[in-house]
């Protein structure tokens, strides 16, 4: 795919989300479901890879770009990740004094709640790809239990999942 078109698709996802992984539903819809540029497995791998590397969660878009279009795709992914950040300059100058306005806060609430719902919905087909047997199911359940009950970094959950799978296959 043309890197400019890929940039536009990824930007559509990043510019309509308000947190790193919240762009995932739009990216999955565009690149996996409709255009078949990447697979569910690659999308899931992009999340895994970039949770195991330092930096913001949103950097998974760069990995997605690389899967979809090699190095030019990765550059498109970086630009799509970085571009929405510039919007804060507009907010700083013009909207800052109105940030506490009930309608602005209401809009943010609506978008974040919808983003969370869409993220959970997107995780279902990724789970179908990742949960291949009792061991992976146990890893997913144990990981969720750890995340919901302990203040643990996701890096350690993913590392523990990899270690459990290695031990279970050995």
């Amino acid at each position: 795919m043309n890197p400019f078109a890929l940039y536009a698709l990824l930007l559509k996802a990043t510019a309509s989300s308000f947190a790193g992984l919240a762009s995932l539903p739009v990216i999955r819809d565009e690149l996996v479901v409709h255009r078949h540029l990447i697979t569910d497995h690659e999308l899931n791998a992009a999340v895994v890879i970039t949770r195991a590397t330092p930096g913001p969660v949103g950097v998974y878009v760069v990995s997605v770009g690389y899967f979809a279009g090699g190095l030019p795709g990765a550059i498109a992914g970086w630009l799509a990740m970085a571009t929405p950040a510039l919007a804060i300059l507009v907010l700083l100058r013009f909207i800052g004094p109105r940030a506490e306005h009930p309608r602005v806060r209401g809009m943010l609430q609506g978008v974040v709640l919808a983003s969370a719902a869409l993220l959970a919905t997107s995780a279902v087909p990724l789970a179908r790809d990742a949960i291949t047997g009792p061991l992976t199911l146990a890893i997913m359940v144990a990981g969720a239990a750890a995340l919901f009950t302990k203040k643990i970094d996701t890096l350690w959950v993913i590392a523990a999942g990899a270690a459990m799978s290695l031990l279970g296959s050995g």
């Binding site: 309509s16 947190a19 790193g20 949103g58 009930p102 919808a114 990724l126 996701t154 890096l155």
Partner: protein, 193 residues
């Protein structure tokens, strides 16, 4: 992120090289997501170096939550803009995003090369299963503050969003636009108790 000793005016104007160094180091080499990174940046640019004031920091942080995309990058952009305007913003954004992107590309490249290795494939299967748990947890982390602050809105918006995508096959982008419009029509204060 205590405001102790940091409520006064910013004392130092950073050089562009110093902005690049601080954001490259702390935005790219901190594990634990945006919150952990912002806590480290607060210590560096407010408490230690005094590039911006506590009030400016709080403004940048609040607005970064309202900015689409990756909140941490928006915060870094604002934190670069406040002391050095456009050039500072551009340098902070580039420094905060390019090194970690290069690391991501290298890791993705090796993923493609290594995925045929049996040991790596076994480890990856476990990591992918754990990543599904991370996604469900992230969804909850995103929603939780708003579920607590606006439970009635959550009861409407969450199932409606799932239904619009799963039953009515609307695109996620369209659902988000509808959620923005619906949220603006349902002001936050109506949920206040």
């Amino acid at each position: 992120m205590s405001p102790t000793n940091t409520a006064g005016p910013a004392e130092r104007t950073p050089s562009l090289g110093a902005i690049a160094a601080v954001f490259a180091r702390h935005a790219n080499l901190t594990f634990g997501g945006g919150s952990a990174t912002i806590a480290v940046l607060h210590r560096e640019i407010v408490a230690r170096r005094r590039w911006i004031t506590e009030l400016e920091f709080q403004l940048a942080y609040a607005l970064s939550r309202l900015t689409p995309g990756t909140n941490l990058l928006a915060f870094c952009t604002a934190a670069g803009w406040l002391p050095r305007r456009g050039t500072g913003a551009a340098i902070a954004l580039a420094a905060a995003s390019i090194p970690c992107s290069i690391i991501a590309v290298v890791a993705t490249h090796f993923y493609e090369a290594w995925q045929r290795d049996a040991t790596f494939a076994a480890a990856l299967r476990g990591a992918l299963a754990a990543a599904v748990a991370v996604m469900f947890h992230t969804a909850w982390v995103l929603a939780a503050p708003h579920v607590r602050a606006a439970p009635r809105k959550a009861l409407v918006f969450v199932p409606a969003s799932i239904a619009l995508v799963s039953v009515f096959s609307l695109s996620p982008f369209t659902v988000l636009l509808l959620a923005a419009a619906g949220g603006a029509l349902w002001p936050a204060q109506s949920e206040a108790r």
